[in-house]
Structure formats: structure tokens, C-alpha cells
Amino acid sequence: MKVSVDQEKCCAAGHCALAAPEVFDQREEDGAVVLLDPRPPLALRDGVAEASFLCPAAAIAVED
């Protein structure tokens, strides 16, 4: 699984950091998404998929 994020699009709603805290965090200065792990293990697939579905700004892309 390959994950990428777009910090420009991100509106800092924070869903991703809650849904998959191993993979996403929020930057201190403005809450924008930080990608902690661009190739997360398959065990985290559900959390990553949920983050990408919940992201209101379409800032998270997931490839298998």
C-alpha cells in the first residue's frame, strides 16, 4: 500500500490523524497533514482507507 498526501489541499480537519495515527499526524504550526509512513503495513489498510474517505479536502491518495 502506497500513501501520499497533499499539504496544499489539506484543510486541517484532523480526521486522518485520528483514523490512522501511525500513518498521519498534524503539523504543529498550522495543523496540516504530515505523512509519517508512506508505505504502511497492510494491517493498517482499514484505518488508511477510512482516513482517505473522511478527508474532506481529498488530500489523501492511496494506491495498492
Binding site: A12, D30, P56, A57
Partner: protein, 400 residues
């Protein structure tokens, strides 16, 4: 039965027999045509969006503008919002993103979690007083309304000495039963108050949100003085009535669902999910979510010509079959968080993490400290605010 080409009047109201559900007419529309034209009070005929996927498609697409000055924007009220209430929610990127980014640092998960002890202290203070005075009490005036205003006051950096004046000024702008002139006057008082507060922060900045806006933005030319005042006003207004109404209505709803209440009492870890399910089920933002097509766009099989307005009905979208047994209140619902009670897209509620934490703490503490909480009047006697922008209830008399 109406013919399919007939344009229905907007808005339809929630049914008194079922105040927690969306207007029955919208549910019927969602099944038949989730994007359809309606007629508003001013004769305009925007599209009404009642389906979950269609609502996400519109709110998540930058080809739909939120610009409040656009002439195609649906006008929900006759009241013209004064210019000083510049509203983040009513402007488009890139200017919207620029200003939102100045605020997001204060609303991250981490920052909000760190505010738990402060919020708990305010909740306990309000309940101490309620308990000391003894039953009956009005859950709206004595608990739900003071909480969010005290929390935002701390964030903005209102000093204890100033709080009474802050409270008085903000009460004035929260009263939507007053005339347009009175509302204008109340706003004037609030603008004055916030302006004076800004002047004080300018002279002696602290590390609160308002001081940061002044030091980081106003003094560097990112925002004008007037924009700083307006931003403080938006934060105050957007988070007050909404959070208060959710606290009051959630309490009523839980008291009406003893089996769900028992479940929550037995498993306090359920609270975060329960709060999202309550946000989905009640969806207080029932009016005011409008957009305009900036170009021709197709949504849900319907062609929306450029310049046409759309109204996104969040309560109906949140009862879409996307949620299994959508009309059941299920505090353990696996996909409760997928609701769009905070909107969707780049305007999705800035204060949502804060609102969730306030709701979690308020409900947990209320249930724990008042285990025998009950309504003093039958549900039918509660004065629900069917016609207001945000669904609410005027008073909730309780005893314990």
C-alpha cells in the same frame, strides 16, 4: 401526489411528531431525486440536495463556490448580514485557505486534547452551581449555553475581569428573536467590545489565540485590524449556539432512549463514537448550507448550469441509506464518523474537534454527576426551534 415537474416550496420543516428527524418531504425527495429544484421565499429556484453522496460531491468540489456575495447564492433569510461579520464560511480559496490556515493551529487534535482539563473545569463549575441551587433547572440556560462561550473566551484570552461584559455582549448577538435593528445594535456592542479587547492585546500580547492573530498576522500585514475583529466574532458566533444546541438536544435524545443511555453508562469508552452518532442523528445545521455553481457541473445525474444556487440539506444526507438502518439511533454505529453534520470539503467545520471534545465532556459529566436526571415536562411540551437556521430547543426543564 405532486407531479414530478412541480417545484416544491422551500423550506419544509421537521415534523412535530418526530422532531429529531429531517423534514419528511426531504426523505421522500432523497429517494426519488436527491438533486431537485425548489422555490424559495424570494421566488428563486435553487437546487436542493438531499442525498449523502450528492452532498459530499457538491461540498467537496471547488467548482461550487461558497462566496456569500454571489448573486446566485440562496438567500435563507431577509436579514442582511452586516459587513463586519465577514465570514470565513462564505468565501472561496485561495483567500479562504489563507485565513483558515491562520487559525487551524489552534484547533488541531493535539491542541484540543490538551484543553480537556480546562473544559472539564468549566463543566464542573457549571454543574456545581446547578447542584447547589437544586432542581429544577433549565439545561439550556444553566448549562448548554454558558459552556461554549466560556471555552471560547479562554481560547481568545478574555480576562476574568472582563468575562461578565463579554458574556453580556455575546448574549445580545445570540438572540435571534430580536428585530433586525436590535440585532444590528447587539452586533455593534460586540464589535466594540472585541475591538477594545484587541487594543489591549496589542499593547500587552499574551499567548492566546487573539494575541497570536495580532502578533503573527495583523502586525505583519496578513490581516487588517478590522479582519482580526471579524475573525474573533466568527469564532465566537460559529461555535456558540451550535455547540449549545447539540448539548441540549443530545441530553433530551438520550433521556428518550433509555436503552442507549444505559449502554453509554455501562461503557464510557463509547462516548466519542456516541457523540458522532448524536451529531449524525440530530444534525442541527438544518439551514444555511448554500453553494453556487461556478461552471456547468453534473451532480447525481442532474445538470447544474453555471450561476445556479444549491442548498445542501445536511439532516437528510445524514439519514441516507449510506448509514445502515439510518433512522436508528445506534451509539455504537461503526461508520458514525462518516456523517456530514460538520459539512464536507474545505469549509468543513474548523471547530469540529473542539465541539466533539466539549460534547464528550459535557455529556459524560452530566450523566455521571446527575445520575437521576429526568425531563420535567413531556417531550411534546418542549419548545423546539423548527424554523431557526440551527435546530435547537428553547428550554429544557430538568430535575434529578
Amino acid at each position: 401526489m405532486d407531479r414530478t415537474d412541480e417545484i416544491r416550496d422551500y423550506p419544509e420543516l421537521r415534523a412535530a411528531a418526530c422532531p429529531f428527524s429531517p423534514p419528511p418531504g426531504y426523505e421522500e425527495l432523497r429517494e426519488r431525486s436527491a438533486v431537485t429544484r425548489v422555490r424559495m421565499w424570494d421566488g428563486s429556484t435553487p437546487f436542493l440536495v438531499t442525498g449523502y453522496h450528492e452532498a459530499r460531491a457538491v461540498l467537496g468540489d471547488s467548482r461550487f463556490s461558497a462566496d456569500g456575495t454571489h448573486k446566485g447564492m440562496p438567500r435563507f433569510t431577509k436579514f442582511e448580514v452586516p459587513a463586519e461579520v465577514f465570514n470565513l464560511g462564505r468565501m472561496d480559496d485561495p483567500e479562504h485557505a489563507r485565513i483558515r490556515r491562520m487559525l487551524t493551529a489552534h484547533f488541531t487534535i493535539r491542541r484540543t486534547e490538551a484543553m480537556r482539563p480546562m473544559i472539564q473545569g468549566i463543566v464542573d463549575g457549571l454543574l456545581d452551581r446547578l447542584i447547589a441551587e437544586g432542581p429544577p433547572a433549565d439545561l439550556v440556560a444553566d448549562f448548554a449555553f454558558p459552556l461554549p462561550s466560556q471555552v471560547i473566551a479562554v481560547m481568545l484570552g478574555v480576562s476574568d475581569a472582563d468575562f461578565a461584559e463579554f458574556q453580556r455582549a455575546s448574549q445580545g448577538v445570540m438572540d435571534f428573536t430580536v428585530s433586525t435593528e436590535e440585532m444590528g445594535a447587539a452586533l455593534g456592542v460586540m464589535v466594540d467590545y472585541v475591538s477594545r479587547m484587541c487594543a489591549a492585546k496589542r499593547a500587552a500580547p499574551g499567548d492566546d489565540l487573539l494575541s497570536r492573530l495580532i502578533v503573527d498576522q495583523e502586525l505583519t500585514g496578513g490581516l487588517t485590524q478590522q479582519q482580526v475583529v471579524a475573525t474573533a466574532l466568527v469564532l465566537l458566533l460559529a461555535g456558540h449556539e451550535t455547540t449549545a444546541n447539540m448539548i441540549a438536544l443530545s441530553s433530551v435524545l438520550l433521556l428518550r432512549h433509555p436503552e442507549q443511555l444505559a449502554r453509554l453508562r455501562a461503557d464510557p469508552g463509547l462516548m466519542p463514537n456516541a457523540v458522532d452518532e448524536l451529531l449524525r442523528y440530530i444534525t442541527i445545521v438544518q439551514e444555511g448550507t448554500g453553494r453556487v455553481a461556478a461552471e456547468d457541473v453534473e451532480v447525481g445525474g442532474v445538470q447544474i448550469p453555471a450561476g445556479e444556487g444549491l442548498i445542501i440539506n445536511l439532516p437528510s444526507a445524514n439519514r441516507d441509506p449510506h448509514f445502515a438502518d439510518a433512522h436508528e439511533l445506534d451509539l455504537g454505529r461503526p461508520n458514525a464518523r462518516e456523517h456530514i453534520g460538520f459539512g464536507f470539503g474545505v469549509h468543513q467545520c474548523l471547530g469540529q474537534t473542539l465541539a466533539r471534545v466539549e460534547l464528550q465532556i459535557a455529556l459524560e459529566t452530566l450523566l455521571r454527576r446527575l445520575p437521576a436526571l429526568r425531563l420535567e415536562v413531556p417531550l411534546d411540551d418542549l419548545a423546539f426551534l423548527y424554523e431557526s437556521m440551527n435546530f435547537g430547543v428553547a428550554r429544557v426543564p430538568v430535575a434529578w
